[in-house]
């Protein structure tokens, strides 16, 4: 049960029900009241008509219903007008109705018997009901006998039980009560109330049903999203949420989630790739170590053979060390190692690099060209030096003999710039976006002829970015490659 009330669909249904029920109740109650007022007014009108006809029967003309009471002056001035007593309706009523006079507590009471609509005081003195009615009427008036009565006739309508009573009080101590039994009206109103209640309940039920369906339909994308997310959590990382309407709220949510899941999947794939690459890079020298050591131990060997095996093992171990050092440097960089802020000059660092690489360049028949203008920066001279060395060594080793490697430094627009350009074989356009990835090598087959594990450029990029700089590369196959490092100038 508790689960049900946590369901959004159920909550929407509950709210829908509450709002609908309140609205329908208010509307129907208002309608019922209006209807009651209308019906009561009808009864009152009938009471007044009754009064008019009845009073006409006793010679009094009631204004407003059966025409104004004529004054002597107007009556004399307009002889063409019929006398009120000649009103045909009143005349007719006079013939049909009986009016009796009664005495009670010093009041003179006229009781009309207008026929089937009225409750009659035929034996008023005898019945308790008549007494009660009379007492109620008297109670509505001022204490009898205390005053002579109003100067003008006063009408007073009130309800007593299921009856509606009109008290007509002409001047003087007399009053007349006209009584209609409204029991039929009350029953009708009750029946109406039941009908309205049934209609309201049906309306509310229908509204809730429609709301339930609509809520279900609008929440269905959420179910799909949940199912997809569960699938992804279960390991189906390639799954995407099907989006029908990208502009709806849930559609936008789905798009956002798809993007997020996509990014997370890409990150996961990068980590997986990185782990696989790292394990490959470490396993290969490990295989050499195992193979050489087992080969050496298989049988008696000459000292020269042992030495050769140990040298091979050492080379492999050194390679593993280089890889683990590089990985450690990257990991430290990832952890946000603080960068030193020593004043140094890219020109000096490049100059040192050119001097250091002289022999390597000669061995590979590469030509080094340097055009070094001052480019002062603040940073870790060692790390920046390795950046320059790394870029230059790459340019020398990854290109055929005879390549020219040009290093330039300088300041432009407040940025200290370093470029390392070669006229070698260039990098294919599809490889360019990935060359800074860890373990990525332009040659997908992981050639080891050029040494390195494919971590150099990743370290370079990390070092440059740690110094608040950027590194960019442009390349054209057969024309060469240019790396441009831009750092904030000191």
């Amino acid at each position: 049960m508790a689960v049900i009330f946590h369901s959004i669909r159920w909550r929407i249904l509950a709210w829908n029900f509450g709002l609908l029920a309140t609205t329908v109740t208010v509307l129907l109650v208002a309608f019922h009241r209006h209807e009651r007022a209308n019906r009561t007014q009808e009864v009152d009108l009938r009471l007044r008509q009754l009064m008019t006809t009845s009073m006409g029967a006793v010679g009094e003309v009631v204004p407003g219903v059966a025409g104004p009471r004529p004054t002597a002056a107007t009556g004399a001035a307009n002889p063409a007008r019929p006398r009120p007593n000649d009103n045909p309706v009143q005349r007719k009523a006079k013939a049909e109705q009986t009016v009796r006079e009664l005495e009670r507590d010093g009041c003179r009471l006229l009781v009309a018997d207008p026929g089937k609509d009225a409750v009659l005081f035929t034996n008023l003195a005898a019945t308790a009901e008549a007494n009660e009615l009379l007492a109620a009427c008297v109670a509505q008036l001022a204490p009898p006998g205390a005053e002579p009565g109003p100067a003008r006739p006063v009408d007073l309508i009130f309800a007593l039980g299921t009856r509606r009573i009109l008290l007509h009080r002409p001047p003087g101590p007399t009053f007349v009560a006209f009584i209609l039994d409204s029991a039929g009206l009350e029953a009708e109103l009750r029946a109406l109330a039941w009908k309205l209640f049934a209609a309201g309940a049906a309306l509310t039920g229908l509204g809730c049903a429609i709301g339930w369906v609509l809520a279900g339909r609008s929440l269905r994308p959420l179910d799909r999203i949940a199912a997809t997310a569960e699938g992804i959590a279960a390991g189906d990382y390639e799954r995407k949420i099907a989006v029908e309407d990208t502009e709806s709220e849930l559609g936008r949510l789905a798009v956002v989630l798809n993007t997020t899941f996509g990014r997370m999947n890409a990150a996961r794939e990068r980590v997986t790739q990185f782990t696989a690459d790292a394990s490959h890079e470490l396993r290969t020298p490990l295989a050499v170590i195992l193979s050489d050591s087992q080969g050496a131990l298989r049988q008696e060997r000459t000292p020269a053979e042992y030495q050769a095996a140990l040298e091979a093992i050492q080379r492999s171990a050194l390679r593993m060390k280089a890889i683990s050092d590089a990985l450690l440097e990257l990991a430290q960089g990832d952890a946000g190692r603080p960068v030193a802020a020593d004043a140094c000059d890219l020109a000096d660092l490049a100059d040192e690099a050119v001097a250091l690489l002289g022999r390597l360049a000669r061995d590979h028949e590469a030509k080094l060209v340097a055009q070094l203008d001052g480019a002062p920066v603040k940073g870790d001279a060692g790390r920046l030096g390795r950046v320059i060395l790394n870029l230059m060594v790459n340019a020398i080793l990854h290109n055929p003999a005879g390549v020219t490697v040009a290093v330039t430094t300088g300041v432009r627009e407040g940025r200290a710039l370093l470029t390392v350009a070669d006229d070698g074989r260039g990098i294919a356009a599809e490889d360019l976006p990935r060359i800074f990835d860890r373990f990525h090598r332009a040659d997908a087959s992981r050639s080891r002829h050029t040494g390195g594990a494919g971590l150099g450029l990743a370290i370079v990029k990390q070092a440059v970015e740690a110094h608040g700089g950027t590194i960019a590369v442009t390349s054209e196959l057969g024309r060469g490659t240019t790396f441009t490092v831009a750092l904030p100038a000191a």
Partner: protein
């Protein structure tokens, strides 16, 4: 038994070549997929050991192209050990898959198994009259007594024993017994045959003049004493 080792990692290649040669296999090395494919198509190797990630043509690509032409047994050597890598490698037609780093014993045992699988007689022991060849221990016994035998001699004997009843040409023997660095015009083959006859009896290996050598089918029941 002639093996092609395709491995771009120079130290590992050198190490494995040495071990395999010491085991008595004739081994050729190739530094990349392109060279490996050329050699594999040129010569009928008994087994190809194939690295996965290499320049110029990786192991998978080379295997795919080789399988279009030949069904030489191939063992993939790779540092990639994910299930997916293994499945792809095996589905491309590799017969076995060994993850680096591996122990030499395992490599050699898998190599023997691969050779055995592609021989007509599946047993580990071959019996020729009173001569018994243990293909696992690579030992030979005559009349229950073990005979000292060199790796190359063993390989020659095993090759002829597997093909017993059929004449094996000198050219075929040279192709399977000697690697590309050895001079095929030498009389090394004759020397090995002569040594085997001396150790195991002159009747075992017969010369078919102008054709080659043959080990006659041994009659049943004269097996291991």
């Amino acid at each position: 038994m002639r093996i092609l080792l395709v491995e771009d990692e120079a130290p590992l290649r050198a190490s494995l070549l040495k071990v395999l040669r010491e085991e008595g296999y004739a081994v050729d090395g190739a530094v990349d997929g392109a060279e490996g494919l050329r050699k594999a198509l040129e010569c009928d190797y008994d087994v190809i050991l194939l690295d996965h990630m290499m320049p110029n043509m990786d192991g998978r690509e080379m295997l795919r192209r080789l399988r279009g032409v030949k069904r030489t047994p191939v063992m993939m050597l790779t540092a990639r050990d994910s299930i997916e890598d293994r499945v792809v490698g095996l589905d491309l037609g590799a017969d076995d898959y060994l993850v680096k780093p591996f122990m030499q014993q395992e490599l050699l045992a898998r190599l023997r198994a691969l050779v055995r699988r592609n021989r007509p007689s599946p047993g580990v022991t071959i019996t020729l009259g009173d001569v018994a060849i243990d293909t696992v221990a690579r030992r030979v016994a005559k009349a229950g007594k073990e005979q000292p035998i060199t790796g190359r001699e063993y390989t020659l004997l095993e090759y002829l024993a597997h093909r017993r009843g059929a004449v094996v040409t000198r050219a075929e023997l040279y192709e399977h017994l000697f690697d590309e660095n050895e001079d095929t015009l030498s009389n090394l083959l004759e020397v090995h045959v002569c040594n085997l006859r001396r150790k195991l009896g002159a009747e075992l290996i017969k010369t078919r003049r102008g054709l080659g050598y043959v080990i006659e089918e041994a009659p049943e029941g004269q097996a291991w004493p």
